[in-house]
Amino acid sequence: MMVSNLEIVPGRRVVKHLGLVQGSTVRAKNVGKDLLASLKNIVGGELKSYTELLHEARKEATERMMEQAQAIGANAILNVRFSTSSITQGAAELLAYGTAVVLE
């Protein structure tokens, strides 16, 4: 499965267009991480636990998107975009979406 945020693939032709595929996940931060983060908030700097949390979540969303694409018989996803939104206090939704295609 090829995942790319370009619209074309150099040297290869799109033979079939299968429409939009997406994957998303909603994650909440846990109390421990939150506590550490609020301490870190005094001195500032990177919140590694949050970076990791969002990174993992984004990977999960991408994997779900790839699963969906595989299920409809695509071998590549083009023009992939990410989007993040905060649902409630302390929870975020991460979405990955793109166009599923079949490359020759």
């Binding site: 790319s4 945020n5 074309i8 150099p10 609020s38 908030n41 001195v43 500032g44 990177e46 949050y50």
Partner: protein, 151 residues
């Protein structure tokens, strides 16, 4: 008495925030600059179409970082937002986050063997704090498509 304690605590937090935050920021900027020099050979393009016609492999590369403000910045911005205008303390925060995200993206690209990244997009997400006093943080994500040249 309680008021006095509160004032002392506030002053302590502000001082710690100022000193530690400034130190951390300067150190981070030094780190960013040295890595920017080191990763200068990984080229980043905002263009949607790659210039290389025969790269056989594409990989999605991304870098992200969450950076939190410090107590002093939060206090100053609270005061400054009464008057409006530039919030310099926050500008440096977002700048650091964005440059760090690009660097991490470049590092990932290099690890996968890509030397060019096309169609780079940024996304900024602000993580709100639990209440007014616990401050927020900002996440910056940079992503693009790395082209791996056929060997």
């Amino acid at each position: 008495m309680l008021d006095l304690l509160n004032i002392i605590l506030f002053c302590c937090l502000a001082t710690v925030g100022y000193v530690a935050g400034r130190f951390a920021e300067q150190r981070h900027y030094r780190f960013i600059r040295s890595r920017e020099r080191e990763l200068a050979d990984v080229l980043v393009f905002a263009s949607r179409f790659p210039v290389l016609p025969h790269a056989d492999k594409q990989v999605l590369v991304a870098g992200s970082v969450v950076i939190s403000e410090d107590y002093f910045k939060r206090m100053v911005s609270g005061l400054q937002s009464l008057f409006g205008g530039r919030l310099k303390s926050y500008e440096s925060l977002v700048d650091r986050a964005r440059r760090e995200a690009v660097l991490r993206m470049k590092e990932e690209a290099r690890a996968q063997g890509a030397r060019m990244i096309f169609n780079v997009k940024f996304q900024t997400f602000s993580i709100p704090g639990k209440n007014r006093n616990s401050g927020g943080a900002v996440e910056v994500l940079a992503y693009g498509t790395g082209l791996v040249r056929p060997a």
